[in-house]
Amino acid sequence: MYKVRHWSVRHSRFMEGLYNGVNPVILAVLKGIAKVFGNKLDKPITAAEAGLKGFLFDCQMCGNCALSKTGMSCPMNCPKTIRNGPCGGVRPNGMCEVKPEMRCVWVAAWDGASRMKNGEAIKSIDFAVDHREKGTSTWLKLAREEISGDAE
């Protein structure tokens, strides 16, 4: 939702804290689930992630989540899906060149990052997304990475 998305960017510092607090819990739970159930529950977990992140950030489920590095503004809402933005077409009022009714997601991103503890992360390069991961859960990916990390 557009309004909620903006609320999330305005409260990027709070969302960052929430994410840092809640994320380890989610990952711990998902690690447990993944160990016991394998990939049987992937669909509902992915749907839950899509629902929650969709509500908060208009998440597009690219499977390459970068919210913590983009001021809590989802870059996949950019009509050009720019991951290191903004482009040069931003309107003088900060609105999107393509969708004049939408605030540029990268104007929002730099704004959101300015309030975040780890806001400097926006300055690091985010390489092009892996399109094979579209529609998949970033949470499950991180949980499985931790599982294979634990195994090594």
Binding site: P86, C87, G89, W106, V107, W110, K123, I125, H131
Partner: protein, 338 residues
């Protein structure tokens, strides 16, 4: 030490032959030579024809003979169909020109772009400019599928991988890396203005060696931007060329401001055109003055003259500005004399 160039036995006998790559240079091109030698560079852009006629490209390029160091071949600018950037570049290199291959992320994915980059280098192209590209909705085929597999930063990084690591993104090795001088763009005149220098830093970190900016019609914003960029040390890492334009009337200026994404024209410029007896001449005067001021601005390495449908005036504004000093850029004629 001059690097050996494959398949070229005699250098410089034909205008289209590559030059030897100088020590510390990344390409065989003249454009890199001009910048690294510390000259104030002048580039312009060619409007690719809506035609399959190669002579049309050469006719358009000849308008700039002796006044520009490199010619940007636009890649479907404004999301309109024209002859491809790669083809325009190939025609130009055969005649000895120094074209800049513009690569937009809008129309091709990473497979096509990497292939085209190798092809361009094989055809003698020495410079590439990485751009995100206008949205399809801005052009004459708004129903087209926008690709945007890359953005300009990922694209810049990819070209550096091809050139410096001599491999595709997949890791597969190249037999010969494309020796390209790699650039990108910046628009310091639109929001988020406070973050534009940081964004430039990202582009340079990704691998941009030169930058060509959007139209500059506001020297106050530009000077603030450049002073930050100089303080950040970015002008030590990349050459910054600032875009200048030839406006033809107050009406056109207003239209551009309203309709061309990313073009910032202050009211003062529009008032000046409105008050002028000969607005066409005034538009060129403005361009000349901006070029002269930019030459005096520390951190600016050159200008990029964009004169869409006013290409015949590029020579005039460059000449009157005096930014080239006594220098005469390469022309097909100088090649014949040598």
């Amino acid at each position: 030490m001059i690097e050996e160039i494959p398949n070229v036995e005699t250098l410089g006998t034909n205008p289209g032959d590559p030059l030897p790559q100088l020590p510390g240079h990344v390409s065989h091109g003249r454009f890199e030579r001009i910048l690294r030698a510390g000259h104030f560079a002048v580039t312009t852009e060619i409007a690719p024809p809506d035609s399959a006629d190669p002579d049309e490209v050469l006719t358009r390029a000849s308008l700039f003979d002796g006044y520009v160091d490199a010619i940007n071949a636009t890649d479907g600018s404004g999301a309109h169909c024209h002859m491809s950037s790669l083809a325009v570049c190939a025609i130009l290199t055969r005649a000895g020109y120094s074209p800049i291959l513009q690569i937009s992320c809008r129309d091709r994915n990473r497979i096509a772009i990497q292939g085209d980059t190798l092809g361009a280098a094989a055809l003698g192209v020495c410079n590439a400019l990485c751009l995100s590209g206008d949205d399809v909705g801005a052009g004459d085929h708004p129903e087209a599928k926008p690709v945007f597999d890359f953005d300009s930063v990922s694209l810049t990084r990819t070209l550096r991988v091809l050139r410096d690591e001599s491999r595709f993104l997949s890791g597969r090795k190249l037999d010969l890396a494309p020796k390209l001088f790699i650039g990108s763009s910046i628009n310091p005149f639109v929001p988020p203005i406070a973050n534009r220098a940081d964004q430039l830093a990202k582009k340079i970190e990704a691998g941009a060696e030169y930058i060509q900016s959007q139209y500059c019609f506001d020297l106050d914003i530009l000077k603030d931007f450049i002073s930050i960029v100089v303080d950040m040390g970015l002008t030590e890492k990349a050459y910054i060329l600032i875009g200048v334009g030839v406006l033809t009337s107050a009406r056109t200026a207003k239209w551009m401001r309203e309709n061309v994404p990313g073009v910032h024209i202050p009211d003062a410029i529009i008032k000046r055109l409105e008050g002028a007896d000969k607005p066409l001449r005034e538009g060129r005067n403005i361009c000349v003055e901006f070029m002269q001021q930019l030459k005096e601005t520390a951190g600016v390495s050159g200008v990029h003259v964009m004169a869409y449908r006013q290409e015949k005036w590029v020579k005039d504004v460059v000449k009157r500005s005096g930014v080239l000093d006594e220098r005469v850029p390469w022309t097909p004629e100088t090649a014949k004399v040598n």
